[in-house]
């Protein structure tokens, strides 16, 4: 039964009046993984997730969550799937601990609300009404409510939107921990760093369609860059001759060298560079290599134009 993907979407279409939010989207998310659905605002991410959660009925196409139909089998899915909406959904007058206790009482073997609050740094706000919590505390309470029932699959819709760096890192740690415990996570985000750090698999969505999918490594491809700092004005012709064909070296600014490697960075390339430095009698400082970032791929696929 674990062969059944966590989410399988085929040819999904959904319109609101004349606006076509999702236009023939197909994707799948494997169990036990973090899948990031990445896309600019208005790409159709939330609509897709809300169809998976059973809130919206698809116009066309099929959606299967844990092998079930969210419309027909909603009842069976609700105890197995945790949902964190993009915002709100918590009574403004409810105290944080009261709300979490009620959410816990909906499930057969929930996490202990007090311990969960402690792990999320909410203990001091336990008796505070939701509307008086800071934005970060509200997001963490919302996340806690989504996972308190120990679901096998969690949908997180922009879980770190508007969080400060500390709260964002705390949330990332939590997601990593959940994944390690065997929970499948689907998260939508428009933070590329978030997808790059957390996701086993990335689906890039734009204008209601899937435009690319794969692991971060697959998406960023093999294109590599190697940088180091050394004495200025070295003659790199000899180095270039020893590197794979089509490699390019640049010095900019003085003393900072960049080598572009269309074939990617491999151990042999690094050995070649360090051997050359040793021959020249120079010390390469800050030697590091980067691939193309997910941000590069994302902007290539979705364009650099600002959208209203």
């Amino acid at each position: 039964m674990n062969d059944v993907p966590a989410v399988e979407i085929t040819g999904l279409v959904k319109s609101y009046g004349r606006t076509r939010a999702v236009r023939g989207l197909s994707m799948r998310a494997s169990r036990g993984q973090v899948t990031a659905v990445l896309g600019p605002n208005g790409a159709g991410k939330t609509t897709t997730v809300e169809i998976c959660e059973g809130y919206l009925r698809p116009d066309e196409g099929t959606v299967r969550v844990l092998g079930l139909d969210p419309q027909r089998d909603g009842r069976a899915l609700r105890s197995r799937v945790g949902v964190m909406p993009q915002s709100g959904g918590i009574p403004s007058m409810a105290r944080a601990s009261d709300y979490l206790k009620v959410m816990a009482s909906f499930y057969a073997s929930p996490l202990d609300p007090a311990k969960l609050m402690d792990r999320l740094g909410l203990t001091e706000s336990a008796r505070t009404a939701y509307r008086r919590l800071s934005g970060g505390q509200q997001q963490r309470l919302s996340l806690a409510a989504a996972i308190i029932g120990r679901p096998e699959l969690v949908f997180l819709d922009e879980p770190t939107a508007g969080l400060d760096p500390q709260a964002r890192h705390a949330t990332w740690d939590l997601i990593t921990g959940l994944r390690a415990s065997g929970t499948t996570i689907i998260l939508t985000t428009h933070y590329l760093e978030e997808a790059e750090r957390l996701a086993d698999y990335v689906a890039i969505v734009d204008q209601g369609r899937l435009v690319a999918e794969g692991t971060t490594a697959e998406l960023t491809g093999s294109h590599g860059q190697l940088r180091f700092a050394a004495d200025p004005a070295l003659d790199t012709a000899g180095l270039l001759a020893a590197l794979p064909p089509d490699s390019v070296t640049k010095e900019s600014p003085a003393g900072h060298y960049l080598i572009e490697l269309p074939g990617g960075v491999d151990p042999q390339v690094i050995a070649t560079v360090t051997a050359w430095c040793a021959e020249q009698g120079v010390l390469a400082r800050n030697l590091r290599f980067d691939g193309k970032t997910l941000e590069d791929v994302f902007l290539e696929l979705t364009g650099r134009d600002l959208r209203s």
Binding site: P85, S105, Y107, A145, S181
Partner: protein, 257 residues
């Protein structure tokens, strides 16, 4: 943030979910000053003030004998209608109902929780109003028929007002519900037979006022508790009709988000 427990999904038994949800809503109610004002303080104030001062002429018999049944009807109006409509409308507006839709608590379970909450609050209101009225010298007619008839009127009236509250809360904007529900409270306080005898209104208006749920409630309660009349069939029928129509319409039109 390591060693999270492995997933262990599963729903709790329905009665446990309903009790927990109703408990949370009760806590929220008690922490909400405006709601307490509406459900407890205003009815109590009116009960004490209007039973002791001759502000209005209420016909023969002890003043409290007229006022107490009216205040019981007002208590049901405040809890089943105004408070429920406003609370539910804002829950809808803030996505609370939508989010509950993703939990194992079913819609029927949520409605059961709200019904339990309304009944619990009204039981408290009735006990308090009856106790204070007795202290103010109320001598209601007490018999098996009168007690059961009064309870039947309270429950049928509550059902009718709950249906109307959900009809309002599920279809229009929360701010509009807030205004409409408070306005209806004030209007029905005036023309619902709560404080002013319906006999004082023009004869042509009376049948209309008696066909409104608040008029039918106060009329039925007075008939049995003040005059010891038998089962108030006509009033019960009016309330049942309101309940069926309002709940039916609410069920068809309610929007959860």
């Amino acid at each position: 943030m390591t060693d999270w427990p492995a997933p262990a999904p599963g729903a709790a038994p329905l009665p446990k979910m309903i009790a927990a949800q109703a408990g949370l809503e009760l806590k929220i109610l008690f922490r909400n000053g405006e709601q307490l004002l509406l459900t407890l303080i205003i009815p109590m104030l009116l009960l004490v003030v209007f039973s002791s001062e001759s502000l209005i002429s209420v016909g023969r018999g002890a003043r409290i004998g007229f006022i107490a049944p009216g205040i019981l009807a007002l208590a049901v109006l405040s809890t089943s209608f105004t408070s429920l409509a406003i609370g539910t409308a804002f829950e809808r507006r803030y996505g609370v109902l939508k989010r509950l839709g993703a939990t194992p608590l079913s819609r029927a379970g949520l409605i059961a929780a709200k019904a339990a909450l309304v009944l619990a609050v009204e039981a408290g209101q009735v006990v308090l109003i009856v106790a204070v009225s007795l202290l103010l010298g109320w001598h209601p007619v007490v018999s098996v028929t009168s007690v059961f008839s009064a309870l039947a009127v309270l429950i049928a009236g509550s059902a009718a007002f709950c249906g109307l509250a959900m009809l309002l809360a599920g279809t229009i904007r929360a701010e509009a519900v807030l205004a409409a529900a408070n306005l209806a409270y004030l209007v029905l306080l005036g023309i619902g037979g709560v404080l002013f005898p319906l006999a004082k209104f023009p004869p042509a208006a009376r049948p209309v006022l008696l066909a409104l749920p608040s008029g039918a409630m106060s009329d039925g309660l007075r008939a049995v508790l003040r005059y010891g009349a038998g089962v108030p069939g006509k009033d019960l029928l009016v309330l049942a009709a309101w309940a069926v129509v309002a709940i039916g319409l609410a069920a068809r039109t309610f929007r959860w988000d």
